[in-house]
């Protein structure tokens, strides 16, 4: 539990060494928001930093199983541990069957408890040092997907004029007569919709908002004397009502909207992926004034091209090592079934730049690649300042170009610029503020929903069963933390393995008998060992690398049909051009 203290110390050393820059952005502690709070003594050595994450979930296929779950993630733990099931604290399970009408009332017991503890301080006895101290609980981040965040923020949401999840000052634009706003930077041609006809916005001007502005806007909204005035002010400010998080002790929360940040999982795995696909498949509504014949980028409108692409995606499976998680299935066959975020990510950002080369007309392909290059940096767990600068530049080039080549300042194409386009522009500056976006993404929450759902034993009464399972999990985790021998390590060296040291472990299968090696193989091995002849050897099938990935040898891979394996003998070749 002393990770945060040590890491903070190291970061301040890095800052001194590198003229105020961290070595890498790989943690919320690398962000300016945290460092400022520490410098100003708002966060002290013994304090606990929390991240709140909330999501609506359908526990199993029946619609009646809708519920909301929120969890707490303890940022004091190192990132290796903090997102794991064992260390994630369950907050509450808010049962369905319907979406709560007054969600504040369901968040109330948990936040009330936090606020009360914030008032008094939490008394902790540290067993490792036999020391008692008072700790203050600081709510550093609150995360959720688009709709989930509104339960905490009470903002207008992505269809509003101020639709940004971080309530940045950018105003959206809408088609005349259509209610929905889009975060379009370039002013459409021949456009004079009142309140939306501001000139082009520079992509570099997109930045976060701050709590001073929020409080002023909120006061303005609260003072609305009538419903009518309220509605006008709601439109102006992008705020529907006060955020429930205002109830927490103000010196122990980052502030609103600072406590909200980007959400990388839905951005990359759902929203942006769908945007690209909708463009390529020509799925956008075509306005009567527009013509699909002009959509040069809609390469997958042609069924044959789409199906060929699907086959190509599926055919890549055998070349993707298991560390890529689920390999994407043929999207032309599985588009409507539950296609996972991971599948989208591998498909769109790993495979498409190569698979679409020569298929997507070049200027669209180039624009797409700029996005992918930027996003891939932003999706890294650890981002160096140089990489971050590169990503920032790529995205800043990509966005206005994306608007120019797709929407082309056409009023009827305003809906092409979906909110996720805008949120992408926030990624780089958010990383400098609160660390790499992956640290504050929803992956943990989605995983928690997954493994809670699996534990339901009584589908007849899912919610109370779920609550009992959840409480029991928290009790077991607390007991394991207090009495570690209740938590024996998982099988570290599996059956028939050989530890080679330095984090390398040979894994089954292995030859039962010693084999003689012939030809080139024998020569290479003998050379390596510095022996005149190669001794008889045992061949092994797999090698676990220090990073946890598993490499496989040809010895067993060739025993299976190529379609049945995920090849793990890939070699990455780096060429440095001078």
């Amino acid at each position: 539990m002393h990770y945060r203290e040590q890491r903070t110390h190291r970061i301040f050393q890095e800052l001194q060494r590198n003229d105020g820059l961290v070595d890498t952005y790989d943690n919320v502690f690398c962000g300016q928001a945290y460092l400022d709070a520490v410098t100003q003594n708002k966060i002290q050595q013994n304090d606990i930093l929390l991240m709140l994450s909330i999501d609506g979930a359908q526990l199993y296929e029946s619609k009646d199983s809708d519920c909301w779950i929120y969890i707490w993630i303890i940022l004091n733990l190192s990132p290796e541990y903090r997102y794991k099931k064992k260390h994630v604290l369950l907050g509450a399970i808010i049962p369905g069957p319907k979406k709560p009408k007054i969600i504040d009332s369901f968040l109330f017991p948990g936040l009330h408890h936090l606020s009360a503890v914030q008032q008094e301080g939490l008394c902790i006895w540290d067993a490792s040092q036999d020391r008692e101290f008072i700790s203050w609980l600081f709510l550093f981040l609150a995360c959720a997907d688009g709709p989930g965040l509104l339960t905490l923020s009470n903002f207008i949401g992505h269809q509003g004029k101020n639709g940004c999840r971080m309530l940045c000052p950018l105003n959206g634009r809408h088609k005349p007569g259509a209610p929905q706003y889009y975060p379009v930077l370039l002013k459409p041609d021949n456009y004079n919709v009142l309140g939306c006809d501001h000139p082009d916005v520079d992509v570099y001007d997109i930045g976060p908002s701050n709590s001073h502005v929020y409080i002023q806007c909120l006061l303005h909204l609260l003072n609305s004397p009538t419903q009518r005035v309220y509605e006008t002010r709601r439109l102006e400010t992008g705020i529907v009502g006060p955020s429930i998080l205002l109830g927490l002790q103000p010196e122990l929360i980052q502030g609103i909207p600072e406590v909200f940040s980007s959400e990388m999982m839905h951005l990359s795995g759902a929203n942006m992926a769908t945007l690209w696909l909708d463009l390529w498949r020509g799925k956008f509504d075509c306005a009567p004034t527009d013509s699909q014949a002009n959509w040069d980028w809609a390469i997958f409108k042609d069924i044959a091209t789409w199906e060929a692409h699907g086959r190509a995606v599926a055919a890549c499976r055998m070349y993707l090592p298991g560390s890529f998680d689920v390999a994407p299935r043929d999207p032309s066959l599985h588009a409507n079934s539950w296609y996972k975020a991971t599948e989208y990510i591998t498909w769109i950002y790993s495979l498409c730049p190569a698979l679409l080369y020569g298929i997507l007309p070049e200027r669209f392909w180039r624009n797409f690649c700029k996005f992918v290059a930027g996003l891939r940096i932003m999706a890294q767990y650890s981002i160096t300042p140089a990489q971050l600068q590169r990503a920032c530049q790529l995205i800043a080039e990509w966005e206005p170009e994306f608007e120019r080549i797709f929407y082309q300042r056409r009023v009827d194409r305003i809906p092409f610029i979906r909110p996720c386009v805008h949120l992408t522009c926030h990624l780089a500056s958010e990383a400098t503020r609160v660390g790499s976006p992956i640290c504050s993404s929803q992956w943990t929450m989605e995983r928690t929903i997954g493994n809670l759902g699996q534990e339901i034993r009584q589908p007849s009464d899912p919610f109370s069963n779920l609550a009992q399972q959840g409480i029991r999990r928290c009790q077991v985790n607390a007991l394991k933390a207090m009495i570690p021998h209740f938590d024996p390590p998982e099988n570290v060296s599996p059956r028939a393995s050989a530890d080679l040291g330095n984090g390398y472990v040979l894994l089954a299968k292995r030859d039962k008998h010693l084999t003689t090696v012939h030809g080139d193989d024998a020569r290479v091995i003998a050379d390596y060992l510095g022996l005149p002849r190669t001794p008889k050897i045992h061949r092994w099938a797999r090698l676990r690398l220090p990073n946890g990935q598993i490499a496989r040898s040809e010895y067993q891979e060739l025993q299976h049909a190529p379609e049945d394996i995920r090849m793990a003998r890939n070699v990455k070749v780096r060429q440095s051009l001078k």
């Binding site: 303890i74 604290l89 009360a116 429930i244 928290c474 009495i483 209740f486």
Partner: protein, 166 residues
């Protein structure tokens, strides 16, 4: 300061949270509260080896059924005549006591509109859908003495969980 009812309602939740105190009886009360303020200052130990065995079994069987636990318990007791292991439910209780993790239970609307907390704590029917808060049959039969909520939900307070980590 808010003038519209909806906004007043939101502000009232916020103000109650802002003014929260551990002593206001809304969250933890009684022994769990006492323990929260005075965490034990010695490493937690299970002195009895059979209790320890029962807990290990209980944890190992986290994803199995209650009957699995009971079968193994019976097998052990048959093999070792002098061994007596706590039942599944007893072990559950031991786990709750040792871990000091409990839940705060609050009533809610059966249609999941809202929870009866904060400014709604004293309501007898839902503001949104007018469904009664308590089981009407039992309520009427007992002349309003038995107030059995139609639905409840659990919140797991974080402070005791955080204390166990150090």
């Amino acid at each position: 300061m808010a003038k519209l009812p909806k906004l007043q309602q939101s502000m009232s939740f916020i103000q109650t949270i802002r003014g929260a105190s551990l002593d206001d009886g809304i969250g933890l009360t009684g022994e769990p509260l006492e323990q929260l303020r005075n965490p034990p200052k010695a490493p937690l130990r299970v002195d009895d080896r059979y209790t320890e065995l029962a807990l290990s079994m209980f944890i190992a069987l986290e994803h199995s059924s209650e009957s699995m636990y009971e079968k193994i318990r019976r097998a052990i007791e048959q093999c070792f005549a002098d061994v007596e292991l706590p039942s599944f439910h007893q072990t559950k209780g031991i786990l709750a006591d040792l871990s000091r993790v409990t839940s705060i239970v609050k009533d809610m609307c059966i249609n999941s509109c809202a929870a009866y907390v904060g400014p709604f704590a004293d309501l007898n029917s839902c503001l949104e859908c007018s469904e009664p808060r308590y089981d009407q049959v039992r309520f009427d039969r007992s002349n309003g003495r038995i107030k059995h909520p139609c639905a409840v939900f659990h919140t797991i307070p974080i402070a005791p969980q955080l204390q166990s980590l150090w």
